[in-house]
């Protein structure tokens, strides 16, 4: 792969600063879904984006937001393409992204255990910390929550239900 030029770096930074439409506390860069920006010709740019989940409906809003930001930066021709491999993983969420999720009241995903088989759900026995009171005594209410990427849990200590960004 060719090294990013200065312009590509700048456009990458701009596209990466777009907030996630579903979780506006995170930028696309922190979420880890921005794969690269290629300047094909002056004023003509391709942005490579990867979905969190195959059916994630937010990808269309993300694409529109990126196009708008780059248009505003003087790039007339922007095409956003979706790439599937390598597949996105919650390990692609940056440390800053994880901190912001917790602050927003969503328990961040746990890092994948290197010893567990890749791709499988993380064993539920690992504790998930309550983002409100910090207790590790929490229980699973449902494996699927407000969006495909989250599970619904409840804190046994403070009784608050909360979303958990589940490991993928």
């Amino acid at each position: 792969m060719v090294t990013e030029t200065l312009l590509e770096k700048e456009l990458h930074r701009l596209a990466g600063s777009v907030p996630d439409p579903e979780l506006p506390v995170l930028t696309l860069d922190e979420l880890g879904v921005l794969r690269g920006v290629d300047v094909l010709a002056p004023g003509k740019v391709t942005v490579r984006l990867t979905p969190t989940y195959t059916g994630c409906p937010a990808i269309e809003a993300m694409s529109a937001d990126i196009e708008r930001v780059l248009h505003d930066h003087g790039i007339p021709e922007v095409s956003v393409v979706t790439v599937l491999s390598p597949a996105w993983s919650t390990d692609d969420i940056s440390a800053e992204g994880r901190r912001k999720l917790a602050e927003f009241g969503i328990a961040p995903p746990r890092p994948h255990d290197a010893t567990s088989p890749a791709g499988g759900p993380v064993p539920l026995t690992l504790s998930v910390r309550c983002p409100h009171c910090g207790s590790t005594d929490t229980e699973l209410l449902s494996r699927f929550s407000s969006t495909a990427c989250k599970a619904l849990r409840r804190c046994v200590t403070c009784r608050e239900p909360f979303d958990h960004f589940k490991e993928l």
Binding site: G55, S142, R143
Partner: protein, 233 residues
């Protein structure tokens, strides 16, 4: 790309069936769970059908006999146990299928590597419910047993090789026959005794022959697009 059509139709049709639970599921959490699983499948279907042609035309303008999905996924939702049994059978199959495709080099490898992680959650969901219902009350046990028995004859079709899907089908079948019966046993259910293939079984979905409820399902799925061609909002 008949292979993309077969795998894409499986995902599309099951997605639509699961979507029918919206507004009807026993509890809110399950409604959300089934809708999320449906959304994952719809995303897979869109990518697969786009490999075969125009996704909207394929989904909304084909006649019943042009669909290549297995008959298992078109079976009506029935009671909650029936939906879970269908999920148990299909997610075990789809996970084994995607695992093999992901480790290959073919056109489906990228999608399969991504989707297999989603399907792992679908299978986990189905297995947990099978255990709860099978090892639950007398009523839930009986209903779960009826469901796994009733859908058993549709499972043989899952292992019929699809042209263009370059995997070890024998390994897929033996993997399925290890995982599904183990869950049924833990759920105190009896492994259905009927045949999976042969005279008294079903399965010609891959050839375009479908069961009666499928016609009604696609009528509902397609009517808006057919009544208002090209409509957008």
């Amino acid at each position: 790309m008949s292979a993309a059509l077969a795998l894409g139709d499986d995902a599309l049709v099951l997605s639509h069936r699961l979507g029918e639970w919206a507004g009807h599921a026993p509890v809110l959490e399950e409604e959300v769970a089934l809708a999320n699983i449906a959304l994952d499948l719809l995303g897979q279907a869109r990518i697969l059908l786009s490999l075969a042609g125009d996704e909207d035309e394929l989904a909304y303008l084909r006649e019943e006999r042009a669909f290549r999905n297995v008959q298992l996924v078109e079976q009506p939702n029935g009671d909650f146990a029936h939906t879970i049994a269908r999920q148990l059978y299909f997610s075990a199959y789809q996970r084994l299928l995607y695992e093999q495709l992901a480790s290959g080099e073919g056109a489906f490898a990228g999608l399969a590597a991504k989707a297999v992680k989603e399907v792992a959650y679908h299978q986990d969901h189905a297995e947990h419910w099978t255990l709860r219902l099978g090892d639950g009350t007398d009523e839930s046990h009986d209903r779960m047993q009826r469901a796994v028995d009733g859908l058993w004859r549709f499972t043989g079709e899952l292992f019929e090789p699809v042209e263009g899907v370059d995997i070890d089908w024998q390994a897929l079948r033996s993997g399925w026959l290890e995982s599904v019966p183990a869950v049924l046993e833990r759920a105190t259910l009896t492994l259905p005794t009927g045949p999976q293939s042969g005279a008294w079984t079903a399965g010609a979905g891959r050839q375009g022959i479908h069961t009666e409820p499928f016609g009604r399902m696609i009528a509902e799925m397609q009517h808006l697009h057919r009544s208002h061609p090209g409509a957008s909002w």
